[in-house]
């Protein structure tokens, strides 16, 4: 990740000065304001700069083309550093300035902001973070993951293993190596249910955060002689896990992880050494999708890109474009329903919860968000690292959604009754 703190500060200053992507947003323009308060400097640094660059480039593309539904997008970018007081301050500032959406990209921040977002009716995007049970739109009307949650990702991985084993995992041994935090433990409930349902043996190995030394974990994994391995962490925990798996001679084509694996991680581990490892892909990677080509031609080529050109098309960059495109699609639909607004949280919420079969011109799987399903349908695919890029090994598919939704409902019901 080459966008460092200096680049971020410079970028933010540019945005604040209205000389960045918002340079063509004038006082007379009708605007929709987003608060893009994310962690650029502490825990989520492994993803934020690329994700944010993708979002900002997409908003720039939309604004360059004259906006959407008569509205231009204004995104206020700020660093909350995964710090709750700073995040709440950013949220309140955004609310005061008329923001109708916040994207904190942080599980603890998203969890802390849930009651405020619900009460203030401000749409909170919790892509690949936050509460997995927020997929239940009836319990969390203003919390919108708009992406596959960790339970769904675990379900997709198991389904792919099953396909590899020609339809049956009975008697197989699957090892789950995870960071010992609530995020790392999250898929456990689904994996346990699936272990019972599919008849495989599940062995779990937690490692201490941040996961920079896992040398005593992986010999145990190797000695367990697993048929498949899932590793689940982020940042340094992911690269160390993969490195140790390689050092222990585990076959990479039987090792898989969540959405948190990127080209940058492969650079750290060694591009050739990691050949074969799999991950869940929530959208298309690389520069082939039309929208990425458009960004390159209409934003980056004009010198208006939000970060280094080299990062355009990386996995996390495209996640950012994916989420930016979904937000903008929500605006388009909201404006189609009520062209003159007023632009409020409920106005945008109506649009976001009307997204139907949206693919952003082939970037993401067909995504349908409803008042009940904020996950968007639960489709993803499995991709394999070939030494240079992640190559899809499956088509878009949804799997084990019955088990996933049972867990979602169980937890969202608890939220409805206890508020926790």
């Amino acid at each position: 990740m080459s966008i460092d703190r200096r680049s971020f500060i410079a970028g933010t200053a540019a945005v604040a000065a209205q000389f960045g992507f918002a340079s063509r947003v004038y006082a007379e323009d009708k605007i929709v304001r987003f608060t893009i308060a994310q962690d650029f400097t502490r825990i989520y640094t492994f993803v934020t700069s690329e994700y944010n660059q993708g979002q900002r480039d997409y908003f720039a593309l939309v604004n360059e083309r004259g906006g959407v539904g008569g509205y231009k997008i204004v995104a206020d970018v700020t660093d909350h550093a995964n710090d709750l007081p700073r995040a709440i301050e950013a949220y309140e500032r955004g609310k005061r300035e008329g923001a109708v959406l916040i994207d904190p990209l942080s599980t603890p921040v998203a969890r802390a902001l849930v009651p405020r977002a619900l009460e203030d009716k401000i749409n909170m995007i919790t892509a690949y973070s936050g509460r997995s049970d927020a997929a239940d739109g009836t319990a969390f009307p203003y919390v919108l993951p708009l992406s596959i949650n960790y339970w769904t990702q675990a379900g997709l991985i198991i389904e792919n293993f099953k396909k590899t084993e020609k339809g049956s995992l009975k008697g197989k041994k699957i090892v789950f190596v995870h960071i010992d935090t609530p995020f790392g433990k999250e898929p456990l409930s689904i994996l346990q249910v699936l272990a019972q349902k599919e008849g495989f043996e599940l062995l779990t190995f937690p490692y201490t955060p941040p996961g920079n030394d896992q040398s005593a974990i992986w010999p145990q994994v190797r000695r367990a002689r697993p048929d498949f391995v899932i590793f689940w962490g982020a940042g340094v925990g992911q690269t160390v896990a993969l490195t140790e798996a390689i050092r222990n001679g585990l076959p990479m084509d039987r090792v898989s992880s969540s959405v948190w694996l990127s080209e940058s991680d492969m650079d750290v581990v060694g591009r050739d050494a990691a050949k074969g490892v799999m991950k869940v892909e929530p959208c298309v990677g690389g520069r082939e999708p039309k929208v990425i080509k458009d960004i390159l031609a209409e934003v980056v080529a004009k010198g208006k890109g939000a970060g280094p050109e080299a990062k355009v098309g990386t996995a996390y960059y495209n996640y950012g474009v994916q989420m930016g495109a979904l937000m903008v699609e929500g605006v388009r639909l909201a404006a189609a329903k009520a062209p003159n607004g007023p632009v409020t949280g409920p106005w945008l919420n109506d649009g976001l919860r009307s997204i139907t079969n949206f693919t952003a011109e082939g970037l993401l799987p067909p995504t349908t968000v409803t008042r009940e399903d904020h996950q968007g349908g639960g489709m993803g695919r499995i991709a394999r690292w070939d030494g240079a890029k992640f190559v899809p090994v499956t088509d878009w598919f949804a799997a084990n959604q019955d088990v996933v939704w049972s867990e979602i409902k169980k937890n969202s019901e608890t939220f409805k009754t206890t508020g926790k």
Binding site: T45, F46, P206, Q220, G249
Partner: protein, 295 residues
């Protein structure tokens, strides 16, 4: 009980412990000479890792040039810390000096990821990742080589402290006023100790960086280094060697034996337990000198 697993964890624990011990070595070198516990040692190791990464990946220097370059650069950095920050603290209470080192730790931990970006950096010094099996035991090549280099450096430090300049440094450690009175340049001896401490930290930072990548988490080595230095004795280089092995093996076995019983998370508790138990029951560590003050 899988005895082969226990053996494998123990063997790899020895090498990991030796790599931890290299960070402690710097603490001991500084404590032996100046009587100051350097709490910036973890961040200095991280800084050394970043410097090596800049030389290797940023400037494209070959490994044979980048590593000595980083060591020399960090020797100068260690001396600079002593000259700019520590020397100004002469005459101040020791606790203030220790707090200063903590301040340096916090500053470096924030500054370097800020300058170079917080993502993990690859530091490839040519250690192959292919598994190395001895019978049914897998030996981790990275920790095997890292542990071996650490052992050599620790033994070299033992030899150094018996050299002429080493004796000078020991004299400074014993009595700074008496050293001054016989013409020893006490400031220079302390500055060299800081330089050597930074070199040891850098060597550790490079070895750990090649194992896990370079990022802020290298600074977490401080906790292990502290546990080893306290257990071995803050002024004992030999103690570092033994304590490093004890801590490494204990951590490794805790992960393999205790974790499955309690659901995980014991690895980091080991260092904390060692620090507490040593301070409670043997405050000077296994090999540290007891200072008897006559009143």
């Amino acid at each position: 009980m899988d005895w082969m697993l226990i053996a494998e964890l123990a063997v790899n624990g020895v090498f990991v412990g030796l790599m931890y011990a290299l960070v402690s070595l710097g603490m001991v070198l500084i404590y032996k000479t100046s009587g100051i516990a350097n709490l910036a040692q973890g961040a200095i190791a991280m800084t050394g890792g970043y410097v090596a990464w800049v030389l290797l990946a940023g400037l494209g220097a070959p490994v044979w040039l980048a590593i000595p370059g980083a060591l020399v650069g960090m020797f100068a950095f260690g001396m600079l810390i002593e000259r700019v920050a520590l020397r100004r603290m002469i005459g101040q209470p020791v606790i203030m000096t220790i707090m200063l080192t903590l301040g340096i730790e916090i500053m470096l931990r924030g500054l370097l990821p800020g300058v170079f970006g917080a993502s993990v950096k690859r530091l490839d010094i040519g250690i192959p990742q292919a598994p190395l099996f001895v019978a049914d035991l897998l030996i981790n090549r990275a920790t095997l080589i890292g542990g071996g280099i650490s052992l050599v450096l620790i033994v070299a430090s033992l030899i150094f402290f018996n050299s002429r300049f080493g004796v000078v440094m020991r004299a400074v450690a014993d009595d700074q006023t008496a050293s001054w009175s016989v013409g020893i340049r006490v400031e220079r001896a302390i500055a060299v100790a800081w330089g050597l401490g930074a070199v040891a930290a850098t060597a550790a930072g490079i070895l750990w960086g090649s194992t896990q990548g370079v990022d802020w988490s290298l600074s977490l080595l401080l906790i292990k280094a502290l546990a080893i230095a306290i257990l071995g004795g803050l002024d004992s280089i030999g103690g570092v060697l033994i304590a490093g092995v004890i801590v490494g093996v204990a951590e490794s076995l805790a992960t393999g034996v205790v974790d499955p019983l309690v659901g995980g998370g014991t690895r980091d508790i080991v260092a904390a337990v060692i620090i507490l138990a040593t301070l409670l029951f043997k405050p000077h560590g296994l090999f540290g000198r007891e200072h008897i003050e006559r009143v």
